[in-house]
């Protein structure tokens, strides 16, 4: 009995015993919708969404930090919810609405969270900042309490090794309170 034929093939349905061991032979055709735009790609099934964005689509706003879902630098939105793109296989996200930093705002038209990060000086080296901003934008729609401590808890999946946390919290709170961003410290 071979039930594999009943499965919708995402990749070639080679049996495990004959699965190719070389990189790239087992590529899969994937259509991704990113920032409202459709992209078609042939990729190895091992390619993460993060690597597809950065290495194939030149959407380099999303950053690779730990590559294990621990640092949050790769945070993107899938169907409006924030996720770690380093722990997503790109081939599993056909039909999903993917939003990256590039879809949040542009230099001439910043998202309020981006403006607040600038006004509050909410970064030093900037490497974690795209992930921080993607998490912060998502947080605005999540059931987060009003206090700074609540924001810190909701942002704990985004690590900043420079330690810009106080100003990151201030930036997010300024947007939530719809007030003029105030720099701390």
């Amino acid at each position: 009995m071979d039930n594999e034929s009943d499965l919708e093939p995402v990749v070639s349905a080679a049996e495990p015993a004959t699965a190719p061991t070389t990189v790239g032979n087992d590529s899969v055709h994937v259509k991704l919708k990113i920032n409202g735009k459709d992209y078609a790609l042939d990729i190895d099934p091992r390619v993460t969404l993060l690597d597809a964005l950065r290495e194939r689509l030149q959407l380099t706003g999303s950053k690779k930090g730990c590559d294990h879902g621990q640092c949050g630098a790769c945070t993107v939105h899938i169907n409006g919810r924030r996720v770690n793109s380093c722990l997503c296989f790109a081939a599993m996200h056909e039909g999903d609405e993917i939003t990256t930093l590039e879809g949040i705002g542009q230099p001439e038209n910043l998202h309020p969270v981006q403006s607040a990060f600038v006004a509050c000086d909410a970064y030093q080296c900037g490497y974690c900042t795209p992930g921080q901003i993607m998490s912060a934008v998502a947080l605005l729609k999540e059931p987060c309490g009003p206090e700074d401590a609540d924001v810190k808890e909701f942002m704990s999946g985004n690590i900043c090794r420079c330690g810009a946390y106080p100003n990151i919290v201030a930036a997010i709170q300024s947007v939530r309170q719809n007030a003029k961003p105030q720099r701390t410290g």
């Binding site: 099934p45 993460t48 919810r81 722990l87």
Partner: protein, 334 residues
């Protein structure tokens, strides 16, 4: 990462038939279901997991949370942790479950991780995660480097001479205290497994973590109706205030009437090789006054069989205090 074939199951029967071709449903399985991927993809990147085929179950219709006629709750296998934690019925009737989930991981991971995946979450033991180290769970017969090694975060209950790895899940601890039932469909039909029987102790076969067989697909989890008048709570102690695994945690579901505990369900996390239900602690509490003296007796009973390792002796007292404090918080009058 080793290469693999990726297929998407369009219904449960196809998923089961596909996965039934694997030689095991445990460590080293050639075929794996993939849900949120938060554990599996991480371990594939480390070559700890090397499946030859992944069966994507995310689009199966197993994503609902629904009230049951008896007042209980049914939770689909691919319900995301965040959806479960924030569901109004969970917040209202099963606070311990909501609190446990929200105490674990990050907002991003909770948006990805599934209910079934969390039941199967793998240990964070560093030797399990490092393929250049001995580990009986990852590679049976190679030994346990954690015994006598860096074991500060590892288990003191349910260990064996072959493995002392901790079950890392917070959700599982709450599910144990709530007496959840795990519903599985496999090649021989459907069956229901009480969570107490779902995870197995490491013993001589630490590579085996659950009773699942090849092809078995967790379809949903059910919770019994909340015990009338009960209060529940999850208390987690850890090195950081957020985004850290438990050193010790306690899930308590208690009912107090006229100053006496009439019913108690107790489970501990961070200290056991499986989610650690303590019927011993429950026995010390039931029928007794809701006082700190009694809570301490319950804690002593829960940790009576503890076997500390070279670096985690502190967990014995920490877990006791964690349980006592959780019981105080859950029984104090507002």
């Amino acid at each position: 990462m080793k290469t693999f074939a990726l297929t998407r199951a369009s219904d449960s029967a196809q998923a089961i038939a596909s996965a039934a071709k694997a030689s095991t449903a445990q460590q080293g399985a050639e075929i794996r279901f993939i849900g949120g991927g938060t554990t599996l993809i991480d371990l594939m990147k480390l070559n700890v997991e090397q499946p030859q085929r992944l069966v994507d179950i995310n689009r199966l219709p197993l994503d609902k949370i629904e009230a049951l006629p008896d007042g209980g709750l049914t939770i689909g296998a691919v319900v995301r942790n965040s959806d479960l934690a924030y569901h109004p019925l969970v917040c209202k009737n099963y606070a311990v479950l909501s609190e446990a989930i929200l105490s674990g991981a990050s907002a991003q991971l909770r948006n990805m991780a599934t209910t079934a995946g969390n039941l199967l979450q793998r240990t964070r033991c560093m030797y399990f995660r490092a393929t250049d180290m001995p580990c009986n769970k990852r590679e049976p017969g190679t030994g346990c480097a954690a015994i006598g090694g860096a074991n500060r975060s590892l288990a003191i209950l349910g260990t064996s001479e072959h493995c002392i790895a901790t079950n890392p899940s917070d959700m599982n601890v709450a599910m144990a205290a709530l007496e959840a039932t795990i519903h599985v469909r496999g090649t021989k039909g459907e069956r229901s497994i009480p969570i107490a029987d779902f995870h197995v102790l490491p013993g001589n076969t630490p590579q085996r973590e659950t009773v699942l067989e090849p092809g078995d697909l967790i379809t949903h989890v059910t919770l019994p109706p909340p015990a009338p008048g009960s209060r529940s709570l999850y208390l987690k102690l850890r090195d950081r205030a957020s985004y850290e695994f438990a050193l010790a945690s306690a899930a308590v579901v208690v009912t107090v009437a006229n100053g006496k505990v009439t019913r108690a369900r107790i489970a501990l996390g961070g200290v056991g090789t499986k989610p650690w239900r303590s019927t011993e602690a429950e026995g010390e509490l039931t029928g007794q006054s809701a006082t700190e003296v009694v809570f301490r007796k319950a804690a002593e009973a829960a940790l009576r069989g503890a076997k500390p390792q070279s670096e985690n002796g502190f967990k014995v007292e920490l877990a006791k205090r964690c349980l006592v404090h959780a019981l105080k918080l859950a029984t104090q009058t507002a």
